[in-house]
């Protein structure tokens, strides 16, 4: 279980990294915390010719509040968020998510940008950030573009990253004082990848709700206007109005044929709704 041979570069700044990325022909992989890429290299599931280690890029470690949103550099670790070393605009929602990602050893090294880039459907950030309405900024030598998280994750282990692009930052909008947050997941054991994730951001005052069903075999189901899951309207009584059958139909539409799997997903989502309402 040793990686196939690869070249290794550790650029000192983002421009250098982007230049290397642009210049590289063939397969190149970016490594940050290495919590997913490391095992994949060892298993030879990926055999890049070049690995660009961005862990030395100070620009990507910044975290700041700008224009009312939180901008987290791609290299911010789960532990940075868990420990409150970064600012927060989600009233603790991100901190709770971070604290329950895998094991502490993974959280110490794993990065938010790496997790998004890897686009594992069972990962916590792609579901929770989609529910929070976060966006991702991608940068290449040609410039930057910003996408909604749900647009960035296009499938299992598939993102919208183009060749030469790197995740630069995550932009998280502030959670309004009236917005309720619920996040639930079911894991076979502590620290394992979830087999079902439910994330909800429900604002009865604004009559809006974002609902995410994650850890399915493909990109999470993201419902940005989730009134249909609550009998057609979002109001203070949303907890009583949650419609499991609508969620079940969404999952069936997403290609989940197994009824027991759908039931577990719907039950986890229901738990997230109850948590939000609590």
């Amino acid at each position: 279980m040793k990686p196939a041979p690869f070249a290794y570069e550790r650029p000192r700044d983002l421009d250098a990294a982007l230049s290397m990325l642009a210049a590289s022909s063939g397969s190149t992989k970016i490594i940050a915390g290495g919590q997913s890429l490391g095992p994949m290299l060892n298993l030879r599931l990926v055999q890049p010719e070049l690995i660009i280690d961005i862990s030395g890029l100070a620009e990507l470690k910044r975290a700041e509040i700008s224009g009312g949103e939180l901008v987290l550099g791609a290299l911010v670790t789960h532990a940075d968020i868990e420990d409150g070393r970064t600012a927060d605009v989600t009233r603790g929602a991100m901190r709770d998510v971070a604290a329950n990602i895998a094991y502490r050893a993974v959280r110490n090294r794993g990065t938010i940008g790496g997790s998004l880039s890897h686009a594992d459907p069972a990962a916590d950030w792609i579901s929770s950030l989609a529910a929070l309405g976060a966006r991702v900024t991608l940068r290449s030598l040609a410039g930057a573009r910003t996408l909604a998280v749900e647009a960035f994750v296009v499938g299992a282990l598939e993102s919208a990253l183009h060749a030469g692009e790197i995740v630069e930052a995550v932009r998280v909008p502030a959670r309004s004082a009236s917005a309720h947050w619920g996040y639930a997941k079911s894991c076979r054991k502590t620290g394992e990848f979830a087999h079902a994730i439910g994330a909800v951001l429900i604002d009865p005052a604004a009559a809006s709700a974002r609902v995410v069903i994650g850890a399915i075999d493909t990109a999470p189901v993201v419902v940005t206007n989730a009134a249909e899951l609550f009998g057609g309207r979002i109001a203070a009584d949303y907890k009583q109005r949650f419609e499991p059958r609508v969620a079940d139909a969404l999952l069936a539409k997403a290609g989940i044929d197994d009824a027991a799997q759908r039931h577990i997903h719907v039950s986890v989502l229901k738990r997230a709704v109850l948590e939000a309402a609590a």
């Binding site: 279980m1 076979r188 054991k189 009824a259 039931h263």
Partner: protein
Amino acid sequence: MKEGAELRNEREFPSGKSGQGVGARLPRKEDDRLMRGRGLYVGDVRLAGLQDVAFVRSPLAHARIRGIHVPERHRGSVFTAADLVGIKPIRAISGLPGFKISEQPVLATGKVRQVGELVAMCLAPTRAEAEDIAASVTLDLEELPAIYDMLKAREPGSALVHEHWGDNVFLETNYEVDISAALDAPIKVTREISTARQCMSPLEGRGVVATFDKRLDQLTLHSAAQMPHITRSGLAECLGMEEGQIRVISPDVGGGFGHKGILLPEEVCLSWLTMQRGHPVRWIEDRREHLVASSNCREHHYKITVYADSDGTLRGIDCEATVDSGAYSSYPFSACLEAAQVASILPGPYKMPAYRCRTFSVATNKCPILPYRGVARTGVCFALELMLDLVAAEAGLEPGEVRLRNLVRPEQMPFDNITKKHFDSGDYPEAMRRALAQIDIDSIRGRQRKGEADGRRIGVGVSIYCEQAAHGTSVYSGWGIPMVPGHEQASARLTPDGGLELRVGVHSHGQGMETTLAQVAHEILGVDVAKIRIILGDTAMTPYSTGTWGSRSMVMAGGAVATACRELGERARRIGAKLLQHDPASVVLQNGEVRGVNGSVSLKAIAHTWYRRPQDLPADVDPGGLEVTQGYKPVRDSGTFSYAAHAAVVAVDPDLGEVEILDYVIVEDGGVLVNPLVVDGQIYGGLAQGIGTALYEEMPFDASSQPLATTLADYLLPGPTEVPAARLDHMETPSPYTQFGVKGIGEGGAIAPPAAIANAVNDALRPLGVELMQSPITPHRIVAAVLAARAAERSAA
């Protein structure tokens, strides 16, 4: 000393209050090394000129090999079966009539019969480079239909793993005692029950470092092996060498559980390679190899009927058991040990007048099934204990009550059960009663009636088993495997400075033998435990032994150490008498010194005189000296029977399928415990593995017999957060047949948990009409069963 009635009196332990002898709760001596990271495992062995091996393994479960293509640049670094001239395949032949022989080539010839089967061996200065070479080798394989389902494999017309057999059955057996007498019983419950294929998953995998010493004309194989002498015999057979030309060194070993008792094709390959190349070679199993290609175990299927009277009294069991034995018969336990065990141990500690069990050991395109801690007992306990809960439900009784009604009673001991298993001692009903009391069954029932605020359902389950251990010649010759244990030997040597060296052929890979055997020796000789060294894991330095397996080491090696130490003590006593100028009959050995009426002389002084100042000894001294090797067998070799009652309380979420173990009680009787602390550790470790069997561990296969869990992200093992702090209670009923009354206890912790937990889950979900009869009990299986029950209820309404 002759074995016999006098041994029954050896509960009077001469070490008295020293706190180091039999029964002392002594911290493990070896932990000073192991817990500081100072152990030496096979992966730590460094030899000059060492090169690494990686294997090309079959990507298909069943295929004909049409060609193996090695790039020109790697010729000379890649070896295939064609290169291994004169190397014999591994053959583990069961002596049971009707057994069909499989030949496991150490590198595949003709066909591959499992994913991960070795096809070519690649050599390079480092493992990474060896893997690069392996990746460059291409195989031309003609895929054949894969046999992945043991029940389908039994059907006529199935594709064949070994064509010349004509079917896929290694062996079929039939055991019957008057089953017709049970058929009119008022309660008759029939079910199919199965246990998943698992992987043993010791912390350390297998590994081999092989080298050849020209001066000694000797191959030295460093291997993570729990039975080094057996490995040597197997190697000698495959390599066509004399046993004296082979030395197997098994250094510190990070868990064995049965996996490390098996002769590996890799061991044969690397032995051949080092002799070809003249430099040391190494292969260290990685976790993917471990999961996919090697350590499989546990896959059983039962079709079972239990007959009982309406008061829950057992009338008989009728069972058809199938074991997925995989592609080959592994050495030395064979493809049929599991099924042979199933037939003889299924009735367990219960009385019944009628019994029938047919077994099938079926070949499939999977790894050979290997004996894992508990061997067939875990599956058997799962099957029978789940059935007894159904009998209880039919009879309207508490599950515990059905056990109490049918367990062998203490006044019946020693007891021969329906399969002629000879139970040496014990009070099984008492263990069950204590477990029920400690789990507080009445309060759980009350809690169930009230229901849970969080919507989960509470369930309580019990199970009980017996663990036959240290069973010897008479039992194993009947099971027909190529290895039959006889007398166990130990050497004891007093060193010139009064220390004690003990050499034993068993090994220690987590059992704490370096401590417990020292305690036994201390018990006899009074030498300080700190001054006793245990030498094991090296065929050149230890007496022959079949090794550590079957929970035999404490009984067998412990008995041998006691026997050797007694003889050594007797010799020292006679020398001491000379030094004291006493009649030998008037002196005794006590607390490390020989005492007479006029004084005493220490073992240390006796040793010093014997080795360093023989001029002080009279001419007529016994010339035997202070080094002895003695053999030992218990009074009866039918085995010791330890046992335990387990009780679990779980909370089950019927919509998420999550199971939380709220409480766990184990009441165990392992006879006289040499070191209760070590026994506790064995039980906790076994419990963790049992929880793995119950709830987590499963190697799934697809229809082409591809193993699907190739990393520990897919093959789930319980971790610290999944293993509850169990409450342990010990009973100590001595075995009448062994030194000090000890019994083997190594496996029990892993036997009962799947049954107790499954019964608890079923107890929680029974009101919903749910019944789970398959391990592991996963969230998906629970929810699928709940949905099926709800659908059935709707359609009935």
